[in-house]
Subunit: 335 residues, 2 copies
């Protein structure tokens, strides 16, 4: 998997070959399972996702001089953790659509969906431990990195909930929250891949920096998506952020740039008192008129440039190309 | 921790010294934490619990010839997993009281409680990995055992939910469910303790069998508790099982022993159509009149006898005494 052929021109996030391999392995494990809990996990896992975090783990191993061929279980493990957070997030936000399909709790009910998320988190650890070709000490370190990343994601989710409706939230606090909620798992995936691949500390740090910048850029662009595209493209309702009163990056930036009149309109759009479709439309107008959309896009692009810079000197050139392409795509996508 | 002095006459589940040590360590880690997520985890963890699963892990290490002194993080880890399932169970059942205090979602709201459970599961892995004095291969195996146990608990929870209101559920299905929902974590705790302590395969299997029988006996007695004691003693509402339409062990046994008239009354008590206090009172009468309470108690005692037998030949005699006392207490308690 380290040779250049597998890193073909990317469509989506990563080489079609690697994504195909990940999807086949996922189907093999989850498409014909007997127990209801496993079936629900399969329902969540086999929805067409970007496989971004598994790709980051595999390419980070290759980019730092390792061989990702042994690390497929670890790549699945990080996706399990990611999907678990989606399943639980959807319960919290009561979102009905994810990846173009009914969410797990919409399909199976809240109690079973809650347990399915737990099940996926627990499968993260047991699946990671299938990497038996790797030194036990490296597997332990990767498990530590990924479980700590998961804990940080939780801290980020709680901080995000605490910010609901707060237009005066400092942008710095928002960025700290994003570094936890989104950045931590990107960071965990890249760092775990490097560690499992036997990278030097310097190379592991390089992919870690890449991941941190990628995480921020990715999340800012994610915050923009609802105002760039409609539900059928993103796979989830464009109105979810206003419905949940999220002061996202463009919203905070727009609010700070706005005069008193517009600030009142921002507050109205994020009050939860208007029909969500109207809130969303009003918010979109405000983000355009205050220049917040353009400003946020530029800010995301800056992070992506830093992400690119972080990995310039790594030895696995084909994989580095792949990671550069992933960085570019993270701010040029419609879902 | 392997000498006999620390295994004093038990009050509660295990030696007061070991329980004191566990409680002090728990407080040290969780009583002065800054982040809201950690505070919520602390709220859940520092409620006065039995510390049964951590005790099982530590005593299993000592009983099989190991030294539990190095395994405090692993003991906490198994309690994190257990408490995570309680936090999530309470959301699912919407129970308001646990260990005599408001449940996490009652105190902090559902969204944050849900994330707190995830956080605790993730802390299980990272905390277990603090056992650096143990061989990495043994830590990996213990992590596998505990995460697999957690997955089994999830499968058990989903099966339990599927049985709601079903008085015709075969007792065998119920026992399989209990082996997953309750037994798996007892099994995981004992087996992980043995593995981390460097036990032989034979000795690890002995504590595993002990745990399996203890789990069934413990759960059957747990099912009896609401009909033996009132809420202030058990720390959770005695009416929870009927409110959630759980066909528990005594209920299934009583229903099978009952004639047509009593069967109709069983169905009424578990229909969710009566006020829960009335359902609970009717169920209690039925369980007494059908002999189900006595029968269940005898069945639990049988499992406990088998649990005792399983560990008779282990080398760590003081710890074995402790495990025998735990087994006896599991069917002679009021919470």
């Amino acid at each position: 998997m380290t040779n250049t052929e597998t890193y073909a021109v990317p469509t989506g996030f990563g080489s079609p070959e690697l994504i195909g391999l990940l999807n086949r392995e996922m189907r093999k494990r989850w498409s014909a399972v007997a127990e209801r809990t496993d079936q629900m996990a399969g329902y969540a896992l086999l929805a067409p996702g970007k496989m971004l975090r598994p790709m980051l783990l595999l390419t980070s191993a290759d980019a730092t001089g390792g061989d990702s061929a042994q690390l497929l279980p670890a790549a699945l493990a990080v996706e399990y953790l990611h999907v678990a957070t989606l399943v639980h997030d959807d319960i919290i936000d009561d979102d009905e659509l994810r990846r173009g399909r009914p969410t797990v709790h919409t399909h199976y009910g809240m109690p079973d969906a809650l347990v399915t998320g737990d099940f996926l988190i627990l499968n993260m650890t047991s699946t990671l431990l299938e990497c038996t070709a790797v030194q036990p000490a490296a597997v332990l370190e990767a498990a530590r990195v990924l479980s700590t990343a998961g804990s940080d994601v939780c801290r980020g989710q709680v901080r995000e909930a605490g910010m609901a409706g707060d237009l005066n939230c400092p942008v710095g606090d928002y960025q700290e929250m994003v570094a936890l909620k989104t950045g931590a798992l990107f960071r965990g995936a890249c760092r775990a891949g490097a560690i499992l691949g036997g990278a030097t500390a310097e190379h592991a740090d390089a992919v870690t920096r890449y991941a941190e910048h990628l995480g921020v850029g990715f999340q800012i662009f994610d915050d923009l998506l609802p105002y760039l595209a409609d539900s059928p493209t993103t796979g989830k309702p464009a109105t979810s952020d206003v419905a949940n009163l999220r002061p996202t990056f463009p919203v905070l930036v727009g609010y700070q740039a706005a005069g008193d009149g517009d600030r009142r309109r921002f507050a109205e759009a994020l009050s939860g008192r208007m029909p969500v479709a109207d809130s969303h439309r009003l918010m979109r107008e405000l983000l355009i008129s205050t220049g917040a959309l353009d400003l946020s896009r530029a800010r995301a692009a800056e992070e992506i440039a830093w992400a690119r810079e972080s990995i310039a000197d790594l030895p696995g050139t084909a994989a580095v190309e792949q990671m550069l392409a992933i960085a570019d795509l993270s701010i040029d996508r419609n879902r």
